[in-house]
């Protein structure tokens, strides 16, 4: 049976599909080896701080599809991130030269009596409301802990309303409690897209390359156009029709293969759109390898080599200068696994030491199952070994780690985590635009950014002098892995 079973509305979690884990303490090389040999096991934590759930990841992708609507079948708290995605939406529109508008989101606002007597009528009503209010081309229904535990049959409702409204109505099984790995939320969102939105190809468009990413500025087109390719950035800020035609493209690449693994593999499995199986294009070596893999896939080896050569030359001098200025500085990276590997390699390529990395989870393999795509392997091979923690956003472990390593700069990709570096007085910044460091020019942008951070650390200094950490001295003396139990 194929990886993607569009007969079912739900899919296995990452733990089940990929054997993913959320806790590990050791060397990158060990982690890579364990993953490869299939002996990787999770070590549950007794004490934990809140993390994130699949619901956020699913909604963040789907709510940014410009002519779709999302109905969150849940109590109101699950709408806590509506306002964030709304600002992301408005900001992205302004950046793309369009008029800012609110995101199309609705909550069924489940309450006590709904919990007792069921809330399916409310769901029906909400879907109709969404249809009336936004005239969307598709509606996504995201589930919640409450809707799942009370056993709401949201699939039945969705199918019935799809009949009635004559537009795709897709359920998204992103109940928070199902998976410790919140990126499962991406997978279920993509599954809904593959099931209900993507159509079989009408005519193939080999020059088009799907780029699975978030909402960063489009740095792909400039590169691709030079070799006669078109970048098709999805899912955020695309519309339903563009997504429906993902099946027609010549290849699929990813800004982060943790993000896109399911969609990329799915497109290859269902519609044989080849997935470019290489780590994402960060750092010289990474970008070279990635471009070459793309070149092979779309048969543009020659053009690609010329592109690589000219870019290397273009950035050469400033890169040298940056390396000189950054030499001897130590960085620490905390991010979602593959993107984290990418950022670590960028730091190494800028001539910095990397004291280690903290990644929110680890997938021993990707859905494509191809070791060539293993970004951790790539990191170790190209840039050497480093200490690695796998930790689903457990601030207390991270801060414990940072206090020992005392890096000169701390680079984060996830809201809410950057502040802990700052409270320790470490120049820290969040990678807001995930494309900021991408490819060759990104290397320079990123280097300049790091220099800014270290050249004026006053904010961090004052913060550390005045901010109190909510942790006991006892804890700060323990080892970071203290609360990890042995694998069950």
């Amino acid at each position: 049976m194929s990886l993607v079973n569009i007969a079912h509305s739900n899919i296995p979690t990452r733990e089940q599909r990929l054997g993913s884990i959320v806790s590990f303490e050791g060397l990158a090389s060990e982690l890579a080896e364990l993953s490869r040999s299939g002996r990787l096991q999770d070590r549950p934590r007794s004490f934990t701080q809140v993390s994130s759930c699949a619901s956020s990841c699913a909604i963040c992708l789907l709510s940014l599809i410009q002519d779709a609507a999302v109905v969150n079948h849940a109590p109101l708290g699950c709408a806590g991130d509506f306002s964030m995605f709304n600002l992301v939406n408005r900001y992205g529109l302004v950046k793309r030269g369009q008029t800012p508008a609110n995101a199309r989101l609705i909550s069924t606002n489940l309450n006590e009596s709904d919990a007792v007597f069921g809330g399916t009528q409310k769901l029906e009503q909400a879907i109709r409301d969404a249809y009336e209010r936004f005239h969307p081309k598709a509606i996504f229904v995201t589930a919640s802990c409450a809707s799942a535990i009370t056993g709401e049959d949201i699939d039945a409702v969705a199918d019935q309303l799809e009949e009635e409204l004559k537009i795709p109505v897709a359920t998204v099984h992103c109940e928070g409690f199902r998976s410790k790995v919140w990126t499962t939320g991406f997978d279920v969102a993509y599954h809904a897209i593959l099931r209900k939105i993507v159509r079989p190809p009408e005519q193939r468009r080999p020059e088009v390359v799907n780029v699975i990413t978030f909402w960063g500025e489009d740095v792909f087109s400039e590169l691709f156009n030079r070799v006669g390719l078109q970048a098709n950035l999805v899912v955020p800020f695309a519309d339903v029709d563009r997504i429906a035609r993902l099946s027609e493209s010549g290849a699929t690449v990813q800004m982060c293969s943790t993000l896109g693994t399911y969609l990329a593999a799915g497109l290859e499995a269902l519609y044989s759109v080849p997935e470019v199986k290489a780590p994402p294009p960060y750092g010289l070596a990474g970008t070279d390898a990635w471009l070459r893999a793309l070149g092979r896939t779309v048969h543009k080896e020659q053009e690609i080599e010329e592109l690589i050569a000219s870019e290397h030359e273009a950035i050469g001098p400033e890169l040298e200068d940056l390396r000189r200025q950054l030499k001897g500085l130590t960085g620490y990276v905390a991010a979602g696994s593959v993107h984290g590997h990418s950022l670590a390699s960028v730091l190494r390529e800028l001539g910095m030491n990397v004291a280690g990395g903290c990644f929110w989870h680890h997938d021993p393999k990707l859905d494509n199952g191809d070791p060539a795509a293993d970004s951790l392997e790539h990191l170790v091979r190209e840039h050497g070994d480093m200490p690695v923690s796998i930790c689903n956003k457990q601030a207390y472990e991270l801060i414990n780690q940072l206090r020992r390593l005392k890096p000169d700069v701390f680079i984060v990709r996830h809201p809410g985590m950057a502040v802990w570096g700052g409270k320790l007085g470490i120049p820290t910044f969040l990678v807001e635009d995930e494309h900021f460091a991408l490819a060759y020019r990104g290397l320079l942008r990123f280097g300049r950014k790091i220099l800014d951070a270290v050249n004026n650390p006053s904010f961090y200094k004052h913060l550390s002098e005045h901010a109190k950490l909510p942790y006991t001295d006892w804890w700060l003396q323990q080892g970071p892995a203290t609360f990890m139990k042995e694998a069950e």
Partner: protein, 438 residues
């Protein structure tokens, strides 16, 4: 009464976690799904004036992140693990366990678990805040009453001590500045405020002092009333309920006079204090009068409030009562208990019968927009949440965000409370308009 909501302005009961975060050195412990805590931080703490995580909020929130296993086999054991860890790892004076949908629905006996810890002397309480139980305003009252109920013991009365129960922390982006403002004003009357939340509170000590107060001051439309009643039963403390935001020269003075009476303080000293404050306030009022009288560009003559009842009533008294603006429509978004609706109606109407505008109780952005479209050519001033930016643009109306969620402003110690609060609000409203017309 919970309808389907587009553009929610409040969240679920578990939002009570933010009220715990607002207590210095208090640690919330969430017994809930993995994403709940962070979503609520995002909606109430972050993308609402970017107030931030502070000491024990944001990514520091402790939680059990219950998964399939706990749902099937129950999560009490898991909760014990996390409480054990929290007492070791988290440096706090007060621990508040909050349950989420998942754990409330599967029926973990959390109360029992927590009580055991309390018996062993841990300063820990429990609140049932499963999201489906109500709004975060309800959640706020739940955690406050939980602390009062499970932690406090009778105390000697301290003369002149006043407990202040006002706007809901984080949900009201200006809560912190407001509390400071109340403290300063009451100090002017020679009263000592016992603040339970925010930078000027002594945290657990302030809470332990609660029974020692001579007066509970509920400066809020309706939240906190149940607390005041509870404290009255327990410790016989009288309470004063002031349901509208005291803002501007007249309302603030009325408020302070009422407090003076309720707290039996020297009326003459109060009068002297009020005179000084009013004189200063009116110096700026006069300075700006040129502008209000002459501002040649279609300064909106009508305004709309899309806020909770507390702000809506207070602000309409300022704009209509002192600045001569006319109300077009009021929307009350904090879903007050039905029995409060009539009182709120009256508070809006109190000004004068000509200054009455239709009042709608709703938190649904779509309904609000629809009703505003009934006045196509009014181009009013819209005071609401950042959600109203779109409908404002559609009606080419002026808009200022003053209510949750506030994604278009950063709020630090800002406040719209009292005399200075009014000056601040007027500056903000008209700066926004001036900027928009050029």
């Amino acid at each position: 009464m919970s309808t389907i909501l587009q553009h929610p302005r409040h969240l679920c009961a578990l939002g009570g976690q933010q009220s715990v975060v607002a207590i210095p050195r208090a640690i919330p412990i969430l017994h809930a799904g993995p994403g709940c805590g962070f979503k609520l931080h995002t909606g109430l703490g972050s993308y609402n004036g970017f107030q931030g995580g502070c000491y024990s909020g944001g990514a520091a929130l402790v939680g059990t992140n219950v998964g399939e296993k706990e749902i099937v086999f129950g999560g009490e054991q898991r909760l014990r693990e996390v409480i054990d860890g929290a007492l070791k790892v988290m440096d706090g004076d007060l621990y508040v366990v909050l349950s989420g949908c998942a754990t409330d629905l599967v029926g973990d006996d959390i109360e029992n678990v927590v009580t055991q810890y309390r018996r062993q002397g841990a300063p820990i309480v429990y609140a049932a805040t499963g999201g489906f139980r109500g709004t975060n305003l309800h959640g706020h009252e739940t955690i406050v009453n939980a602390i009062v109920d499970q932690l406090l013991t009778p105390q000697e009365k301290i003369s002149g001590l006043v407990n202040v129960w006002s706007t809901v922390p984080y949900y009201d982006p200006f809560w912190a500045g407001n509390l400071t403002a109340i403290q300063d004003l009451l100090a002017g009357l020679g009263l000592r405020t016992n603040l339970l939340f925010g930078p000027d509170s002594d945290g657990i000590d302030s809470w332990r002092r609660v029974p020692a107060a001579e007066l509970n001051l509920v400066v809020s439309s309706w939240t906190g009333l149940s607390t005041a009643k509870l404290l009255n039963e327990r410790y016989g403390t009288p309470w004063l309920h002031w349901p509208t935001l005291p803002i501007g020269g007249e309302e603030t003075s009325r408020f302070l006079r009422a407090v003076t009476e309720a707290a039996h303080v020297d009326g003459q000293a109060t009068q002297a204090f009020l005179d000084r404050q009013e004189r200063r306030y009116h110096y700026y009022f006069e300075r700006a009068a040129d502008f209000f009288l002459e501002f040649r560009w279609d300064l909106p003559s009508h305004y709309v409030t899309v806020t909770d009842a507390f702000y809506g009533t207070g602000i309409s008294r300022l704009l209509s009562g002192e600045f001569g603006l006319l109300p077009l429509r009021h929307f009350v978004t904090d879903q007050p208990p039905l029995e409060q609706h009539e009182a709120i109606q009256c508070q809006f109407a109190a000004l004068s019968s000509e200054l009455n505008a239709p009042l709608t109780f709703t938190a649904d952005g779509d309904q609000i927009a629809a009703e505003l479209r009934e006045h196509p050519d009014s181009a009013p001033l819209i005071l609401g949440s950042a959600w109203e930016r779109d409908i404002a643009a559609e009606l080419s109306a002026c808009h200022l965000s003053i209510a949750s969620p506030m994604m278009d402003r950063l709020v630090a110690s800002g406040s719209y409370f009292g005399y200075n609060g009014a000056l601040r609000l007027i500056e903000d409203i008209y700066s926004m308009i001036l900027s928009a017309v050029q």
